[in-house]
């Protein structure tokens, strides 16, 4: 574009943009017929000039990209930001996110000997709506070596009768903590009752079907019954001698807002499955969980507290007798400032095979969130094992999330 033609264009815009606000003013001074005629003439002249200049630009081979006037109306539908045409086939790709979970451990522990440093988990999530009837969620957990499907299920969200069904691999609704992924726990580690009764560090993960029905109670209290059936195998918990031996779980949850700022979440769980010691031996689990939360809404991002606990009883049919063992944890968390949380946990659990053996623990936790997408956490932990060993350890965790913004856990 030549300098002259640019100047001409610029002048045109100055005139046009000067006209625009004038037209927008509420009460323009009445114009005489003569003034109107003159203005018309001027506009015609400007139009001709714009046409001539446009033609000139075209002749020069420059793209006729004219910046829109500043007060351009917003497009009616919001367009995806700066999407290249080549990306159109990606529109239906699932939301993808990855979360890294790094753990450093100091002190000594011969019973649970964690490595000094590890990328304990890299969780990749793939989530999208399948069709008008269902959505799908995959959570692939990459250890430093090897991958496993932590969860991978379809949810059928439009069933009649207040039902919600899930099919696939999922964390059974036994208590509250077992349903949570490692990276959203309020601690670095799983509490002892889950470790001792629900199959170890990772808790219980099952493959099967789940149906949940909402049962509203009077007074706007939320309640929900969940019934689940899984393959009779779960690492460290269930083992099925034959295909027909399934594991079952039932959970009843009640949630009520106590005040605007506080609420109570209570659950009862019952699970049963084959333990593989004999052809007919089962392990039965009973659980109670409760969570109390306090968060004044106006200062919600600065101050909050929660208190949670679970009790689990295990009845495991051994060769001759049934071993009944129990365990619990109690944990509190207090938000000190926008990005700082302090917490403590007490835990105690018998061993499922021998209730005479009991493990105990105490932990203090401090968490700092630089942003919503990263988290630094230190945990001082003392665990006294049935063997008599007392291990004092310092655990340090850094978590970092990239990709799609997931929902905040509740």
């Amino acid at each position: 574009m030549t300098r002259r033609s640019f100047r001409g264009l610029a002048a045109t815009f100055v005139v046009l943009s000067a006209l625009a606000p004038a037209a927008a003013q509420d009460q323009p001074p009445p114009a005489s017929a003569e003034e109107v005629r003159l203005l018309r003439q001027e506009i015609e002249a400007l139009k001709a000039q714009v046409q001539a200049l446009t033609a000139q630009i075209g002749a020069l081979g420059a793209p006729a990209a004219v910046p829109p006037p500043e007060a351009a109306p917003a497009p009616p539908e919001f367009a995806a930001p700066a999407a290249a045409p080549s990306q159109t086939s990606n529109y239906f790709n699932p939301s993808i996110a990855a979360i890294g979970n790094f753990l450093g451990v100091g002190g000594s522990n011969h019973t649970e000997n964690l490595p000094s440093m590890s990328l304990r988990e890299s969780e990749v999530s793939l989530q999208a709506v399948v069709d008008p009837y269902a959505r799908a969620d995959f959570f692939l957990s990459f250890a430093e070596e090897g991958v496993e499907v932590e969860e991978g299920f379809a949810s059928f969200t439009t069933l009649p009768g207040g039902l919600l069904a899930k099919v696939g691999r999922m964390r059974p609704a036994f208590g509250k903590i077992n349903t949570l992924h490692l990276h959203v726990l309020p601690w670095v580690d799983e509490p002892l009752p889950l470790v001792n009764f629900l199959g170890g560090d990772e808790g219980w993960v099952g493959t099967g079907v789940s149906v949940a029905r909402m049962i509203p109670l009077p007074g706007d209290i939320f309640s929900e019954v969940t019934l689940q059936a899984f393959r009779g195998e779960a690492e460290g918990l269930f083992e099925a001698p034959s295909r027909g031996d399934l594991a079952y779980n039932g959970h009843y949850r009640i949630f009520s807002d106590l005040t605007e700022a506080s609420n109570l979440d209570v659950g009862l769980s019952y699970a049963q499955g084959p333990n593989g010691l004999t052809d007919h031996s089962d392990t039965r689990l009973e659980g109670v969980d409760a969570t109390f939360r306090w968060k004044p809404l106006r200062t919600a991002t600065y101050r909050s507290a929660s208190l949670r606990g679970e009790y689990v009883r295990s009845r495991k049919e051994l060769l001759a007798e049934t071993e009944t063992a129990g365990g619990w944890f109690l944990s509190g968390e207090y938000q000190l400032a926008k990005r700082w949380f302090a917490g403590a946990r007490v835990e105690r659990a018998d061993r499922a095979d021998d209730a005479a053996l009991q493990d105990r623990g105490l932990a203090a936790i401090l968490t700092f969130w630089p942003s919503e997408f990263s988290q630094l956490r230190g945990e001082l932990r003392r665990r006294t094992y049935a063997s008599g060993e007392t291990a004092d350890e310092a655990l340090f965790q850094i978590q970092f999330a990239i990709g799609a913004h997931g929902a905040h856990p509740f």
């Binding site: 917003a74 909402m214 919503e372």
Partner: protein
């Protein structure tokens, strides 16, 4: 015969009442949309909201009690632009209410058609803080967008409840007339301060600033979602001093400590500024947001508070 008729009416009245079209049950994520929906729907609707007006709309807990509300809704009104991304999707999935799933008639994203500012055009990364890739989601703070939201709601209600279309249209006309009249008042009150420079805590006010011809020159937050840092606060203090900024607007859900500190150092006024209906009990409807905010800001900019 008459007596028999009367008896029949009494006997069957409850049955007829049951078949009368019930109110349209609306759940909005924000009180602002509920207020507008009440203006349009009047007695024909029943509106409820999830977030409170004095709560940070980015951080709302996905409480199961909200699932109950959603399960009964005929219409869900959302701000969109990913403002509700942290809590709404799992609530909708668990609502057992196919009507309000995105893409179905009972789901209304009122950002559609509104003027959305600050839509990023270049690359977006989280190094910029908690940015919204679809544009600034606080768009209802421009009365012109309020009018568009009202039109969207009226069109949606007419679609869901065509029998009462005339009422919705009449109420929309009344809403628009009142808004136009009020807007003239608001604009007049702030007209003496055209071009005034202001600081805001969070980047919630670009639409408000544009409508009332104010100029937001800085935020107390160094980046969206990142709390104030000493170095950034110092920069803001210097900025306020060098440009003689008179007002620091703070949403009710942010800590006043830093804004007050800055105000103390500079002579500017830290003013709690309400972005939503029921942010303070005085703000009972959409119009009152501007009644209260405009009045307070005019006072501060006019220097009466000093």
């Amino acid at each position: 015969m008459k007596r028999l008729m009367a008896l029949l009416v009494i006997l069957f009245a409850p049955a007829f009442a049951g078949t009368l079209p019930a109110k349209v049950r609306i759940v909005s994520t924000l009180d602002d949309f509920s207020s507008i929906a009440e203006s349009i729907g009047g007695d024909l609707v029943e509106a409820d909201s999830l977030a409170k007006g004095y709560q940070d709309p980015h951080f709302v807990d996905a409480k199961p009690s909200f699932i109950l509300k959603l399960s009964r809704a005929d219409l869900l009104i959302v701000a969109g632009l990913e403002l509700e991304i942290g809590y709404l999707p799992p609530l909708i999935d668990q609502s057992r209410n196919a009507r309000i799933h995105p893409g179905n008639p009972g789901y209304l994203d009122v950002s559609t058609g509104c003027e959305i500012l600050q839509r990023p055009t270049g690359q977006v990364t989280r190094a910029m803080g908690d940015v919204h890739p679809f544009g600034n989601p606080h768009y209802w703070l421009d009365p012109d967008n309020g009018r568009i939201i009202a039109r969207s709601v009226a069109a949606k209600l007419s679609e869901l409840d065509p029998g009462n279309r005339a009422t919705y249209e009449k109420n929309l006309a009344a809403f628009e007339a009142k808004l136009a009249e009020k807007d003239r008042e608001w604009l007049a009150k702030l007209a003496p301060f055209t071009g005034a420079e202001i600081i805001t805590f969070h980047n919630s006010w670009p639409n408000f600033a544009k409508h009332f011809r104010l100029n937001v020159v800085g935020n107390i937050e160094p980046k969206p979602g990142i709390p104030p840092t000493p170095s950034h606060t110092l920069e803001i203090i210097n900025l306020i001093k060098s440009r003689n900024v008179r007002a620091i607007l703070v949403e009710p859900y942010f800590d006043l400590k830093t804004p007050k500190f800055v105000a103390g150092k500079t002579g500017a006024t830290a003013l709690v500024f309400y972005p939503s209906v029921r942010g303070t009990p005085e703000i009972k409807d959409y119009f009152a947001i501007f009644d209260v905010d405009v009045e307070a800001l005019a006072k501060v900019l006019g220097g009466k508070n000093r």
